[in-house]
Symmetry: C2
C-alpha cells in the first residue's frame, strides 16, 4: 500500500469543494500515519501498517478537520499531524484491546494479536502510542496536555470497564462513566484541538468540545448496540464480546440481575441475551439515549455561522446514529 | 506510604552538601511519581503505586539530576518533573516486560502482572506511559521530542530482542543494537535532558548524552550478567529469564551454537548454561566490555570543570560495574 502525498489547497466555502478538500486531507492523514510508523524493526512497521491500512471510519480525524474548518481555519495542513495523532491513539488502544478481549478480527482483517501473537501486539500498541507523542511533541504544550489527558481518560475507561465486569458492578451509572472516559473524551479532544488550531475563542472551543463529547457518547452507545445485533462480517470485527464479558449498553440496561458469562443459565448465553435485547426495551432505550446525546451535541454548535463545514458536522452527528457498521 | 514534600535549596558546591540536596531531590522525584498516578480508578492508582513504591535504583533520575548540577544548574526543582518522567518511562516498560516474560517478582515484590493479572497489568503500563507525557507536556517541544524518541527506542529494543530470539538471530551485533535501543537511549535522554535544563551548550549536552549512552550499555551488560549469576533474592526480580529465553549477554557470547529453550539438550538448560557462562569466557568478556564502555563514558566528561556533581558522575559510572543487584 503506497500513498501519493496530496497537495492541499485553501478550504473552500462551497459544499462540493469542501468534500473534495476534506477527502484530500484525509488522504494526507493516512499518509502521515503510514509514514510515522516506519520503524527499522520489521515487525513494528508491518504490524502497525497492517492495522492502519485496514482502514476504519476515521471519525476522530474527521471531527478535528471539520471543527477546524467550521471555526474559520483555512489550511487543513495545519491539523494533519493532530488528526493523525488522534487516529493513532485510537488505533493503539484497539491493538491493546484485542489482546485483553482475545479479539481475532478487526477492521475486516485478522487482529495484530491474531497474526503476530500477544508479545508483539503489546509492543506494537506501545509503539503506536509513542508515535502519537512524536507527532504532537513539536506542536506546543496545549496540544500535548490535551492529548495526554485524553489518553489517560481512555485507559481509565478501559480499566473501569474491566474492573466493573470483574466486580459485577456494571450499573447504568458506571456505564456512562465508562463510555465518557473510554470514548467521549477522545472525541472531545478531537473537536477541541481542531477548534484551537483554527484560533477559536475559548467559548467557541468549549462549544465544539461539548459537541465532540456528546457525539462520542452517542457513538459508543450505537457501537455497543451493533456489538449485540451486528455480525462480524458486517462490523469487520469480532462481535458479541460485550455480552460474553457482561458489559456494554445491553448489560447496563438489562432488566434482569446484572449478567455475565458466569451467571447466565441458558445453553448459549449469547443467543439468550441477544434475543432478550432485541425483544426488550434496551434497544429502544439505547437509540433514545443516543438520539438525546446527538441533539445535545447539535445544540452546542447551532450558533456557529453557516458554512459547509458546519453542515458536515450536523450530518456527521446524525450519521452516528444511522450507521450499521 | 506517604511523602513529605521536601524543601529544595540551591545546589551546593561542597560534596557533603550535594549528597544531602541530591537526596532531597530524589525524595521529591518519588513524591512527584506517587502524586501523578493518583487515578480515580482504584486499580490503576494501587497498581501504579505498588510498583513505584517498591523502589529501585533510580539511576535515570540520578543521571538527570547530576548532569543538571554538573553543567551549572542551580535548582533541582527545575528537573524534578523530567526526572520523574524518566523513571516512570522505565517503570511502565518494566510492567509490560513482566507480562511478556511472565516475571512474577520485581523490585522484591510480586509483579503487577502476578498480583492484578494480565489485563490490568497491560492497562497499568499504558497508564504509566501516559503519565510520562502528562509530566513533560508543559515543558516545551524539545523535552517532549527527546522523550518520545527514547520511548520509541525502548519499544524497538524490546521488540528486536523478542524477534531475534524468535528467529534465532541473537548474534553479538544484534545484542549491541538491542541494548543500545532498549536501555542506553533512555540513559542518553536522562543526561541530555538534565544538561539542557541547565542551559548547557550543544557540545556540553552532546558530551553528557554520550556519557549517558555508554553508561547505559555498561549497565545493561552487567544487568544481563546478574540475571545469570544472581539469585531472585539478591536481585529482587525473577532471574534466569534471559537464559530461559535465549537472549542477553551470555547468549550473544555463547561459543556453542545460538541457544534457546528448544535446542538445549541438558536435563536443566538453566543449570547447564549458567555453569557454562560461569566457567567460560562470556563472563570475563562481559566485564571487559562493560569496563570499556564506562571508560568511554568518563572520557566524555573529563573536560567539565571540577565539581561535586562531576565527581558523583564518575562514582556513578564505576558503581554500574561494581554493583551486585
Amino acid at each position: 500500500m503506497t500513498f501519493q502525498a496530496p497537495e492541499l489547497n485553501a478550504i473552500p466555502t462551497q459544499q462540493g469543494d469542501l468534500d473534495d478538500e476534506l477527502s484530500l486531507a484525509l488522504q494526507a492523514v493516512e499518509q502521515r500515519m503510514f509514514d510515522v510508523v516506519d520503524s527499522q524493526v520489521d515487525v513494528l512497521r508491518d504490524a502497525s501498517r497492517h492495522i492502519i491500512s485496514a482502514g476504519g471510519k476515521r471519525i476522530r480525524p474527521r471531527l478535528a478537520l471539520l471543527s477546524y474548518a467550521a471555526l474559520g481555519g483555512t489550511q487543513f495542513d495545519d491539523v494533519i499531524a493532530v488528526a493523525a495523532a488522534l487516529e493513532l491513539l485510537h488505533t493503539a488502544s484497539v491493538v491493546h484491546d484485542d489482546i485483553n478481549d482475545h479479539g481475532v478480527l478487526r477492521r475486516g482483517r485478522p487482529s495484530v494479536n491474531a497474526l503476530w501473537g500477544r508479545t508483539f501486539a503489546l509492543l506494537t500498541g506501545d509503539y503506536i502510542f509513542t508515535k502519537v507523542y512524536e507527532l504532537v511533541a513539536p506542536l506546543g504544550s496545549e496540544m500535548n496536555i490535551v492529548l495526554a489527558q485524553a489518553t489517560t481518560a481512555l485507559v481509565e475507561g478501559e480499566t473501569l470497564q474491566a474492573a466493573a465486569v470483574k466486580n459485577r458492578q456494571f450499573t447504568r451509572e458506571v456505564y456512562y462513566r465508562i463510555i465518557g472516559l473510554k470514548t467521549a473524551e477522545l472525541f472531545r479532544a478531537a473537536t477541541l484541538l481542531g477548534a484551537r488550531a483554527a484560533g477559536a475563542t475559548d467559548s467557541e472551543t468549549d462549544a465544539l468540545a461539548e459537541y465532540g463529547f456528546n457525539i462520542g457518547l452517542a457513538f459508543q452507545i450505537i457501537d455497543d448496540v451493533l456489538d449485540v445485533v451486528g455480525s462480524p462480517e458486517q462490523l469487520g470485527k469480532t462481535s458479541g464480546i460485550d455480552i460474553e464479558q457482561g458489559r456494554g449498553f445491553a448489560s447496563a440496561y438489562e432488566t434482569k440481575p446484572a449478567t455475565n458469562g458466569h451467571t447466565i443459565e441458558a445453553a448459549d448465553p449469547m443467543v439468550s441475551i441477544r434475543e432478550h435485547v432485541l425483544n426488550g426495551d434496551a434497544l429502544r432505550e439505547a437509540y433514545h439515549q443516543a438520539h438525546h446525546f446527538v441533539q445535545t451535541a447539535l445544540d452546542q454548535i447551532r450558533f456557529l455561522p453557516d458554512s459547509p463545514a458546519k453542515d458536515e458536522l450536523f450530518a456527521l452527528a446524525n450519521s452516528v446514529i444511522e450507521r450499521s457498521a
